[in-house]
Subunit: 380 residues, 2 copies
């Protein structure tokens, strides 16, 4: 994996990540493909939306259909018929947020599957092996992701476990690295600046191909999230990609790019689409509102997506209110197109050296019009 | 509307229906777009599958979002962004199968909406007006569709009502015919050959652009359905299109084309897709069966659809078992492609004068492999 920075504007960077499955322009937003599919979209939709990199969840694929089955069928790219790049998280976040009766020891995490109640075990070594079987382009070490808030003592103990697991993950990865597979480190440390600093230094010392900032967007105040993002980004190697996990809303993407983040993932565009919410440059459109019932305009007149080229808000509302499957595909396609278009616009602004002006314009048009908060904290 | 017969082979006919929204090659299968969308598919999918004509349900659109709203937004073609032809049924079948507390008089049908319990009234004149507002290329008169079995007395009384309504519908249509809008008559008469004969003669006497055979595929034995279809088809004008409503399974399509039917609609390919069943030349594939869990082959190696070009049975099964939206789109796309491909193959066989051989080959490959019946009687 190669990462080149093509332009900087303040802390913001425009770059190019070259993976075993194509080039990824950064800053990049990764649509979330939990079960080996970005909910509601086919690979052709993802291509049309401009996606170059999608996220898949190790935890979910480990439980269903199982990494061995995916390996047997040629790996995740072939399984889901996606020729672009894939990043997998380590499963840590889901073990801590979704599983019942989990038991954490230094050895790893034992947990019950929410699918069928069966007991499973993920160690740092197993998580690497699972991700190797899936064949993702970018993988992650098993980490512990704390709920917010947590005491300093808990956070410190958790961070040390994450660091020990990171060292073992790196060793397992180096020992049997799959061709073309890169590994990012994950910086934890809760909401304590000193612990975040220690986490960043210690993770960088282990040496990874890029760095993820984990454990944010879990309910902490927004200013604190921005502050910690800026702090950690400033402590990471300038020449390597930085990934803020589970973020976020359009305004969060802009604010975080301004603080030096290159990569993002979030269920927001896909999940909110299924709830009838479309993102537009003028803020979110909530289709269940009666005011769209006779609205012949597209969701976003400037949007190039299939949903905006062919269909009115009135029709999309009708589909959504009727529970029609097409509503979910079209709204998801639109939202993913919107998020990827926002990233493209940010890249262009950085290259042109006008990111500050872009940010101000975005806030005045989009963020101001966000009367209702379009989404809650990160969900697994 | 123009209908030309290009070739005959026995009672089977290959033709070309020219509508205000393009040419339709017959025999044709119409995917069902109940709420102004063929469940799971977008117009681009329908084009890719080769659809030229889709059915929309007057009853459903009358209740939601309402025909006036559709008219205001430019008609149904524009509303659903479908440039091909549209046929609407009259709502009769649904009034009798879906509505509660219906009250039928000579004036029309009063019924309660299953959506919100509100009371509605459809008369022959209102049904024509609703279909005019929708702007379908082919419309139908309000009819009474009896449940099977019915006594001869009930059937006779019902048939006379349908005939009186047909005359009023025709008058309403002629009085204010929308440009390019054709009206088919519906032949009812239950399972009584004499009543079917009377219905066919009386309906033809009223004079329509084509003729639908209604009230079959409602639970009667298959041989009886085939027999009545052959009888009614033989009594209809040779130069006009014949449409067998709500039929059917692949084997029914072949048998009915052999008896002189030109047009069909059925929810089978779309509904069964949502239940995880794919139609193939070797019979249906039920994806929930464990034997497909590691099956790397496509649903149908000969199928040109996107689902078969990109994805394995194992992946489609994984999507279906995970409740992923993409399963419904891909399976529906495949099934509709299969049904339309079957019609195309029948047209070619008729043109080449080898329909008998085609029919025998189809039965020996498809019908013999249908171990489990892939669907029940027609559902609304």
């Amino acid at each position: 994996m190669k990462f080149e920075i093509l332009a900087r504007d303040g802390a913001a960077r425009a770059g190019r990540l070259t993976t075993a499955h194509g080039v990824v322009d950064t800053p990049v937003f990764m649509p979330v493909g939990t079960h080996g599919t970005v909910k509601g979209l086919a690979p052709d939709d993802l291509h049309a939306a401009g996606a170059q990199l999608v996220l898949a969840n190790t935890y979910h694929l480990f439980l269903k259909p199982g990494h061995e089955l995916v390996r047997e069928l040629g790996g995740l790219h072939r399984f889901m018929s996606w020729e672009g790049a894939i990043l997998t998280d380590s499963g840590g976040f889901q073990v801590f947020s979704l599983s019942k009766l989990r038991r954490i020891t230094d050895a790893g995490a034992e947990f019950r599957s929410p699918v069928d109640g069966s007991t499973h075990f993920l160690s740092p070594e197993i998580a690497v092996e699972v991700q190797r079987a899936l064949g993702a382009d970018i993988i992650h070490p098993l980490d512990e992701c704390l709920a917010y808030p947590a005491t300093r003592e808990t956070t410190e103990r958790s961070l040390e476990l994450t660091l020990r697991w990171a060292a073992r993950s790196k060793a397992a990865h180096v020992e049997r690295a799959a061709a073309g597979q890169a590994m990012f480190g994950i910086v934890q440390g809760g909401t304590d600046a000193a612990l975040r600093t220690r986490a960043a230094h210690a993770t960088v010392e282990l040496g990874f191909d890029g760095y993820a900032i984990g454990g944010l967007a879990v309910g902490e105040p927004k200013p604190l999230m921005y502050e910690l993002t800026a702090l950690v980004a400033s402590l990471l190697p300038a020449s390597q990609p930085r990934y803020l996990m589970g973020v976020g809303k359009p305004e969060d993407l802009v604010e975080s790019v301004a603080r030096g983040v290159d990569m993002f993932d979030c269920v927001l565009p896909t999940r909110n689409a299924r709830n009838g919410q479309a993102f537009t440059a003028d803020g979110p459109v909530t289709l269940k509102q009666a005011r769209y019932a006779r609205d012949g305009a597209p969701l976003d007149a400037d949007c190039p997506c299939y949903a905006c080229r062919g269909f009115s808000r009135a029709y999309l509302r009708h589909l959504f209110m009727s529970g029609e499957l097409l509503a979910y595909r079209l709204l998801t396609l639109h939202n993913v197109t919107f998020f990827l278009g926002l990233m493209r616009a940010m890249r262009a602004a950085i290259v042109e050296g006008v990111f500050g002006a872009f940010q101000a314009r975005f806030v005045s048009r989009y963020a101001v019009s966000v009367a209702d908060d379009p989404g809650g904290p990160r969900t697994p």
